[in-house]
Amino acid sequence: MSGLFPASTPEWARQLSKAVLAGAVFGAVGYGVGRLAASFFPGLDPTLPDLRWADVAAGLVAAVLLVACLGTAVTSIDRAALGRVLKLEGPAGDAEVRAVRLQSAILGLSGVIMILPPILSAVSVPVTASLAGIGLLLVLHTTLNLRLYRSVDELFRRVVVEAGALTFWLGQGLLFLWAAAERLAVAPPLTAWDIYVVLMGVYLVVSMVVTFRRGLA
């Protein structure tokens, strides 16, 4: 793919082009899968009248997480490619492959958890079963996250802490501005779901920035 770009193309432009291209391909595939799923499950109407902006945003965040999951899983098959992505001397070893696959599983699970509430609210599944399912997935997600956190070294932990601190700082600022506007009756009230989706969107962007900045990807 590097042959597509002139030698003078900056690295960020190459990465951005690749991301846009991958987004277009996965978007088209996702649209096709969605249309196919709609024909198999006619009860799942994609033009739900109560679909809110937060549900669409949750879908977008989930899509990014699932694409990242797929990307890391595929990259982990080729040790040489994984070594290049992780900026290692030579191919990735067993420990690196294991860590990346665990991260891939967490990313995928995060995507599924993110999109489940809007989907479950649109299909006729009992609320108790829905909440129990989401709770179980959250426990599994937390367990995997803890396992990963305990298995990595101080650089990865620093990235997690920095991403969390930056997200809190940005999130509380945004929330304060909105809360003040809401209190002054110039902005509509938000739900917990709205706030959660925005928070996760901010966390996704912040964690990517911190990861690149620290040289982990």
Binding site: L86, G90, A95, D153, E154, L155, R214, G215
Partner: protein, 62 residues
């Protein structure tokens, strides 16, 4: 903060994996340290000094 990790490692003909193993960190961390993207914690800085048998201030500088 600047450091001489890459030079010291090259002088000893160590790979990133060798140094990572000696320090008990990942190769990614060694790479991040060498490229200046990450400053080590104090315990890791002491460990680096011990591994290279040099004082911390001769490895790291402002």
């Amino acid at each position: 903060m600047n450091n001489r990790l890459k030079v010291l490692r090259a002088e000893r003909n160590w790979s990133q994996a060798d140094l990572a193993e000696a320090l008990g960190v990942s190769r990614q961390t060694v790479n991040a340290l060498e490229t200046g993207r990450y400053d080590p914690s104090l315990p890791l800085a002491f460990k680096i000094a011990r591994v290279f048998d040099q004082p911390i201030e001769s490895i790291f500088s402002e």
